[in-house]
Structures are given as structure tokens and as C-alpha cells.
């Protein structure tokens, strides 16, 4: 299969200042649309004006007149990294490019990834070169209430740098909460709260309860308030948490140890949040409890170092065990404090595939499965008419160590092409 080489790409991206819309036909020996139907047969994806126009399966496909044709052994949707600090935690790893943790206050509900996201960050390019076209970029692990994540493309469609607004699928996609070792290590060291898991939970519950009260106070005032001396004062943090307690903005709970995952479920259920569990290093130990809670999981990178006690129990089989328990899962690369500065979703999917999940399921967790959990399945995650033309082309099984990404398209534009 790997002998079927990549046809010359006729698209010129280097010199154009604005890129012309192209009609592209992507032909595959093995097409994984990740939409309904069987996967892996031959087929063709037609792209017009940055969107998928049609998908045709079966052998002997011919590119229609006026379409530039690209051909590869394996074709998949662009991959979705369900939770990463890429974009706000820069590759150089110096204070100048680290914007993922506002570790000055355990509650930074008022901050947004949107306001730190650097579209020119080199790591976004690296992820894109490994087929990742969409990331949920989220604040880092240090604050119990860390702020709001956003969902962004990893490349723009113009020739120059994009703005964060141009890359955004969701400017604000979720509120991030952190449990476990990291928040208490961050603040305990400074003799500030939290220095225990108890306090981390309390800070979160307190803030959520306050947000509810804040909302009620404002609702009440809005209903019959004419005495402006009694108008409630604005609170940016509480205001940011109101859509969370209303279930309108999803919550992401980063939890590693089994008991921390359980704490996340306890808080999520207490406040009737619309929430997902992230990292879930020991999720496999309490898969039944997670399934009963009906919560999806964003499974953390299992090739990550055992950097703390809470991740010492990581297993390559986590994704497979969670999936087998009937829990919807996506994969995430999270945050890295050192070398390498970001995990690669494609590689993590390979390890999951080889450790019980299988190739097609592993691929689903980083495409359609992730899109569904993030609520962006109408735009990305599968190759179906109307979706964004985010496509990854490979010269072999996408998850094999020795395969190559041949090209990546974001909204029908070639963002990466292998030389």
C-alpha cells in the first residue's frame, strides 16, 4: 500500500497572498470517512469552496473535470485534539511564551484561551503536520478553576498569519476545572489555598454556588429592579460561571486519580453541570462509575512521563477499557512541562489502537467521536457533504509508526504537504 505514492500536488500555496478557492478531488485506496457506513474501502472526496461537496465510495473513482486531484493510500478526516494547551503554551517553554496558567488566583474563571492563543505558535504547525486540524485549546493544570477553553483550527486559509477569530470554531467552548495534585502543589507551596484536595473541591463548589446565587440576584433585580442603588455589582468570575451552572457552557474536569474522577462526578452531578472528564489517568479503575454517570471522557496521553503520583498508574489500555465499558471517549494531549513540549495525537491514537482499541476505533476517538463530545460534529470530524474540508492524507495505515502524513487540508486549503 505504501508503494502507492502521492501524486504531485498542483496547488501553489507559497506565493499567493490570498488563496483562490479550489475544487479538489481526494482519491483514496482506503477511505475512512468516519461518517455512517463501512470504513476503509476505496473512494473519493470532492471539495468545493472549502467544504465537502460529495463523498463517493467504491473503486475506480475519477476526478471530475475542473478538479485538482490528490491521491493517497489512506485518507481520513482531519484529527481533533480534544484538549491541549497548544496555542497558549509555546514551544520555547520560557515565561515569554507560557500563557496557559494564570497561577495567581485559584479561581480564574474570567480568563479565556481566546485572549492568549497565538495563531503563529510553532507547535500548532507541528500538530497540523501530524494531521491535527482542530484543537480544543484549554488553560493549564494549575488552577482549580482555570478559565475558558476555545476550539480552533490549527491553520488558517489565507497565506499570511490568521487571527484567532478566523481560526475559532468556538471562541468559548468550555470552563476548565482542575482537581488532584497540581492545584494544591501550586498554592500549597505559597502557603495559600488550596493545599489539600478538600480545599480544591470546596473552592469549586463555593464558586458554583456563588454563581447560582449571583444569577438569581441579577434575575431578581432585572425583573423588578428600578432602584439603581440596589443594582448588584458585576463580578467577572461569577458571570463567567453562570452559563456553567445553567448547563449552557460545558465543564471540563481534569482528574487523574480515581478518587479525583469520582470527586468530579460528585460535583458535576451536585450542580447538574453539562460536563466531561479529562485526563482520566485512572479512569479504567472506575469505568463503571463513569458509565453510570453517563459522562464522556477525554483520555489523556499515556506516553506522558510519570511526572507525579497521580499519573503513576497510567496504562496504555485506558482508552480500550473505557470504550469497552460503553463510555464515549476522545483522546487529548493535554499539557507538557518539558521535552517534548506537546504530545502528538496521531501517535497517542496508535498506542491506543495497539493496546486493545483497534485501528478504526482509535481513529474514531480522534475524529467523529471527539467531534460529537465537543459538539462540533456538524462542522468537523467526518467526511460528509457540508462539512469543513479538513482532510488528512497518508501513505499507509495512519497509525503505523513508519507511515507518513502526505498532506493536510484545512477548509480545503493545503496547510501541509510532505516534501
Amino acid at each position: 500500500m505504501r508503494t502507492l505514492r502521492w501524486f504531485t500536488l498542483l496547488i501553489c500555496v507559497a506565493s499567493a497572498t490570498t488563496l483562490p478557492a479550489q475544487n479538489i478531488a481526494v482519491l483514496a485506496d482506503h477511505l475512512y470517512t468516519m461518517a455512517d457506513g463501512t470504513q476503509g474501502g476505496p473512494g473519493m472526496v470532492l471539495i468545493r469552496d472549502g467544504r465537502i461537496e460529495a463523498v463517493r465510495t467504491g473503486p475506480h473513482q475519477q476526478a471530475p473535470e475542473g478538479y485538482t486531484s490528490l491521491k493517497a493510500a489512506f485518507v481520513t478526516p482531519g484529527l481533533i485534539d480534544a484538549d491541549t494547551t497548544a496555542g497558549i503554551s509555546g514551544a520555547y517553554n520560557v515565561p515569554a511564551d507560557q500563557d496557559q496558567d494564570e497561577a495567581t488566583d485559584p479561581n480564574t474563571a474570567d480568563v479565556r484561551t481566546l485572549d492568549s492563543f497565538n495563531p503563529s505558535e510553532r507547535l500548532l504547525k507541528v500538530l497540523n503536520q501530524y494531521g491535527v486540524t482542530t484543537v480544543q485549546s484549554a488553560p493549564g493544570p494549575r488552577n482549580p478553576i482555570a478559565g475558558r477553553a476555545g476550539i480552533f483550527k490549527t491553520a488558517g486559509t489565507g497565506a499570511g498569519p490568521a487571527t484567532v477569530e478566523q481560526l475559532a470554531l468556538r471562541q468559548e467552548s468550555a470552563m476548565v476545572f482542575n482537581l488532584g495534585d497540581t492545584p494544591k502543589a501550586t498554592y500549597g507551596k505559597k502557603e495559600k489555598a488550596p493545599s489539600t484536595r478538600m480545599k480544591t473541591a470546596e473552592i469549586i463548589r463555593h464558586a458554583l454556588a456563588d454563581a447560582k446565587a449571583y444569577e438569581e440576584k441579577w434575575d431578581k433585580w432585572k425583573k423588578d429592579g428600578t432602584d439603581f442603588s440596589k443594582q448588584p455589582s458585576h463580578d467577572m468570575k461569577l458571570e463567567a460561571l453562570v452559563p456553567v451552572v445553567d448547563g449552557k457552557l460545558p465543564a471540563i474536569f481534569n482528574a487523574y486519580r480515581a478518587d479525583d474522577i469520582d470527586t468530579a462526578i460528585r460535583i458535576g452531578n451536585e450542580f447538574h453541570l453539562h460536563y466531561v472528564l479529562a485526563s482520566v489517568t485512572e479512569g479504567y479503575l472506575i469505568a463503571d462509575a463513569i458509565r453510570r454517570a453517563g459522562v464522556p471522557c477525554l483520555a489523556g496521553p499515556v506516553m506522558q512521563r510519570f511526572e507525579s503520583l497521580q499519573t503513576a498508574n497510567a496504562t496504555f489500555e485506558n482508552a480500550a477499557i473505557l470504550k469497552r465499558a460503553g463510555i464515549p471517549i476522545a483522546l487529548m494531549t493535554g499539557y507538557e512541562s518539558y521535552v517534548p513540549k506537546n504530545r502528538i495525537l496521531l501517535f497517542e491514537a496508535g498506542i491506543a489502537a495497539a493496546n486493545g482499541l483497534g485501528m478504526e476505533e482509535a481513529l474514531r476517538t480522534v475524529t467523529a467521536g471527539a467531534a460529537k463530545i465537543l459538539g462540533i460534529e456538524d462542522r468537523v470530524g467526518s467526511l460528509a457533504p457540508g462539512r469543513d474540508a479538513d482532510v488528512a492524507l497518508f501513505d499507509g495505515d495512519p497509525l503505523e509508526y513508519t507511515s507518513h502524513v502526505l498532506a493536510v487540508l484545512v477548509s480545503g486549503q493545503v496547510s501541509y504537504q510532505r516534501r
Binding site: 503513576a312 498508574n313 513540549k341
Partner: protein
Amino acid sequence: MQFRKVDSGSTLCLWALLCAGIAFWVQPAAGQATLVIRGAKVYPISGPPIEHGVLLAVNGKIVAVGEEGKVKIPRGATVEDATGKVVMPGIVDSHSHIGIIANPLAEDSGDANESTGPIEPGLRALDAIDPADPNIRMATAGGITTANIMPGSGNVMGGQTAYVKLRGNTIEQMLIPGSIGGMKMANGENPKHYGAKDKAPMTRMEEAALARGIYEKATQYKAKWEAYNKAVAAGDKTAKQPDRDLDLEPVVEVLEGKRVVHNHTHRADDIMTAIRLSEEFHYRLVVQHGTESCYVADELAKRHIPVSFTMVDSLGGKFETMNLDLGCPGTLEKAGVKVALNTDDPITSSRLIIREAALAVRGGMSEEAALKGLTIYPAEMLDLGDRIGTLEPGKDADFVVLSGPPFSVYTHVLETWIEGQKVFDRSNPQDLRYATGGFAVGDRFPASPRGGN
């Protein structure tokens, strides 16, 4: 894996063996263990792969490797059928911190960096290695049988490294007899951390100056002892013995060529600095990490300096790894540089060492060079090339049984053997956990003793 004892000797077989004139192992003496692995595709590394190979080992040493039918199987041998599987030499990790940076990584479990340095040649890794560290068993789950366990890169001269086999309950059982280990050095970013404490070094200039200083001192110390020994040999009864210096002794071993320098160095200019010092003081050098080594591939090739390359998933995390490139090992190969692929565990879990080589193949390295980069080349970097690294008669029976092609993500390490003893077996549920992780393998207490040598 199926074991079966060949319990009745065939006279025909015995006759054939006698004819072949290799009867000395036909009937092993009492207490001798004869092991046969048959049916697998064998990568001896010293020669081309053998489709249906037989490996014969007696008492932990390889006696024969060849095609099925060409290697006679002695009576009484323990025969393991590995049909459809792949056998390769035990993997040698030329850059590891297992046992010295223990799992889980917590504040008290790291003993790699004596950050009160920066010149610490008297330190010995062997004094800090915990044989019960689960990472050691996890390394065997990755197919590693020998490792160069080193101090960290926080010091210009970090201390003496230890060449060990991954078995035994004491460091003495792990150390390879006759091997004294190497010397860890570092330049570039990491030793500069002293600058934040208002101590030297805070620049690359000072790192080099400190390194030159210790070699200069050791040169004089060596000369002093040589003069003393010469005087004693000449019968001079008045000659007074110089004071012994435990810091300088191992540096003298470096100057004498007994100890190779494993130099942490990423950036091309740092690599050239490492070379410059090695040439000034005439010592042997292994470039460790070598992120930008492909930029100076010709310089390395013409001096026959090998690179122990650290492959990671993405660039960054620090300045000196910003130019990480999967293509680097392949470029070095084409220039004629011998390349090993290492884990730098805990940077990469030892379980994934084959993956590091697979990524080098993805980047353009040949599979043949990548296999050598896991076996004979790192063995040579540790001066152990005559003992391990290939499957050849006379070498240690260290080998790995794989479920399929070495560089496929879907392939698993099934078994790891050190000197004829199985130290990892994926079919054993306890062992499996060391391959996959999880279920408290990070907790040292469930780690049962592995048995010594």
C-alpha cells in the same frame, strides 16, 4: 509461549552432531541449561535475517544461530517454539536514568543531579540506583536488557555512569563484570542553571572552561602518579606517594581511554565544543542526544564519533531541542555516523525504545541501521560490542521475542531474556502490567523480585 522438553535423545541426532564435530554441547554437564528458540524470524544483526531461525544457548551464552535444520538441537534442551514470531538481540539503551530517577517521579525519587556541583566526577550512578524501581522491569517489557544508567545533565561533569544488565536485586548483580562504566558530561542549556544561584557556570564559555580545568588538573595528577610509580620502579626509596584523589581518579581513566565520555549535547555548536575538548585532551566521546547532530554529520563521521540520539514526539520544551527532526538519524546514517536510539528514560518510557527507532525509520533511516541502533551500535558505545548487541556464538544469550515486524505499532514485545533467563513474559498477567502500565506497577511493593544471576 509453549515450552517443551526434548526428553528422549535421538541417537540419529546425536550421531549427526558428533559428525559435525560440535559435540561439546550435545550433552550438557549437570547443571548446564540448554535453551533452544526455534521457528522465529531471527535478526542476528551480525548478518541478514534468518526466516526460520534457531537460536541455541548454553549456560546463558549463545552457542549457535542458524537456519532450522542447520542447527542441531541437543537432547535435554528446553525448546521454545516461536514460529511466526521475531527474535532480535536484547536492546541496549545507551542513555537511561532508570533506577536513579525512580517511578513514580516524586520529589524524593530523583537522584540523578547533584545540583551542588558543577564538577562531580567522583559521583557514581551505582551508589544511587534502586534495583527495585519499577522502571527497570518496565524497561525489560520494552525489550531492553542492558542500559547505561547515567547521572543527569545538570552538571558539567555529572559523574560515573553504570553499565548494567536489567536483572538482579542488588546493583552488584546488575553491573556487568569487568565494565567500569563511562563519564557523564553536559554542555549547553542545562548546566547553566547555576547562574540563577549566582554560581558558575552561567554561560557556555564557563562550562567549557570548567571542563578544561578538570581535565588539566587530572592531566597533572596523572603525571604526578606516573612520576611516582616510575621512581618506585627505579628503586627510589625516598619517593613519597601522592595523595589519592577520588575525584581525579575516574577523570584519569577518561584520559587513559578506559572510560568513554557520554556528553549531553544538543546544539551543533555545543557538539563542536564537546569535540574540541575531546581532541584537546584526547578522550573518547559519545554524543548524547545530538538533536542538531545532523548539521555537523560530516564532522562526526570523519572523526568516527557516534551519536546516541534521543527521539521525542515534538520539538521544544527548551531552546536546544527546537530543531528536533525525525530525519536527523537518517541523515547521520547517510553521512556514515553510527547512531543509537535511546530513551533518556524518564523523557521517554523505556517500554517505547523500539518506537524511538521506528520514528527514525519514519524520518528516513533504514530499518537495518535502526535495528543496529538498538543493539550493536549502543553496545559498542559502551565498549560491550564483543559481549552483547548481536546474536552470535560466544555472546551473552540476551534476546527479545516480538509478536511481529520490529517497527510496527501493532507489534508487542512478548519475551525478554537475559543470559538465558526469561525476565519478561507478556503472557504472564503480572508482567503484562509492566508493558502496559497501570494497576499500581508504579508502586514498588507489588514488584516481586526478579531473581539474581
